[in-house]
């Protein structure tokens, strides 16, 4: 793994389909598909304060992310830590600026923004300490006779 460089930074700014990886209470791995917003330096996720992932990261902040555009031939794997941001209810990019690559209907976005303002939702912030590109969702299938 390497640090976040210009290529990784550009990829994160263009891609918001993120699988957030953590551990369950028994220590086994788990993952949640999320919309991840990247204001620079960290990925931010909006989620319910009462969600399982908030409890899991409060117990163990060691985390990873797989940033995987559905039509991309590569994905970016990140390792780092994920914590709840006290007192922050909307991503730093702004509650009213939805990601460009995820289609969200107006009513849904409005409802999510209202819940952010009400404090029902919190922000999870993932700070990466390493990154590596791997084959993505639209990568060619491997040759079944190879390996």
């Amino acid at each position: 793994m390497t640090a976040i460089g210009p290529d990784e930074d550009a990829f994160l700014r263009e891609s918001s389909r993120v699988f957030l990886l953590g551990t369950r209470s028994d220590g086994s791995p788990t993952a949640w598909p999320m919309v991840g917003l990247y204001p620079g330096g960290a990925l931010e996720f909006s989620t319910y304060r009462t969600s399982q992932k908030v409890r899991d990261f409060a117990r163990n902040p060691i985390a990873a992310c797989v940033v995987a555009p559905a039509d991309g031939d590569r994905a970016l794997v990140l390792r780092g830590t994920c914590t709840v941001v006290d007192g922050q209810h909307a991503p730093s990019t702004g509650a009213a600026s939805p990601p460009r690559d995820v289609a969200v209907a107006d009513g849904i976005a409005d409802g999510a923004q209202a819940r952010m303002r009400s404090g029902k939702r919190v922000v999870l912030r993932f700070v990466p300490d390493g990154a590596k590109f791997v084959a993505g969702y639209a990568a060619p299938a491997p040759d079944p006779d190879d390996g």
Binding site: F19, L21, R24, G27, S28, A64, V66, A103, K120, G147
Partner: protein, 127 residues
């Protein structure tokens, strides 16, 4: 507080969804820390079968610790978002250190946003 609607899939719906999916994210543990990758996916009997890229270091990770979570997900539009996360042990199909393994469908979570009410409590449009 309004009760949140149950948007999980039935066993048949899970199998029907997984049968349409060709790629998935694989989460595992490297020295107890989560690591992930993207792999080929197919439904085989009562399991998912995942095939890693030939040079994917996840092969080594799973040879040491076989605990795994495999997530398939689609999101063409909000109400078409569906996903399944399968938790279990990676059982090698082509030998320890191979690139294909199976995970049984015994421990899974699923969601189908098509089951959300379109208005009112739990719809995503209300507060």
């Amino acid at each position: 507080m309004a009760e949140r609607p149950d948007i999980s899939m039935s066993a048949d719906e899970v199998r029907g969804f997984l049968a349409t999916q060709r790629r998935a994210v694989v989460a595992a543990l490297d020295a107890e820390a989560p690591v992930g990758t993207v792999a080929d996916l197919r439904l085989v009997d009562a399991a998912v079968e995942v095939t890693l890229a030939d040079d994917d270091p996840m092969r080594v990770v799973l040879a040491v610790d076989d605990r795994v979570c495999v997530v398939a997900e689609q999101f063409p539009t909000y109400y078409e978002i569906r996903g399944v996360a399968v938790h279990g042990r990676a059982q090698p199909v082509d030998g320890i250190g191979g690139r294909t393994f199976r995970v049984g469908l015994d421990d899974l979570t699923s969601f189908d946003f098509g089951k959300l009410p379109r208005t009112g409590a739990g719809s995503g449009t209300s507060t």
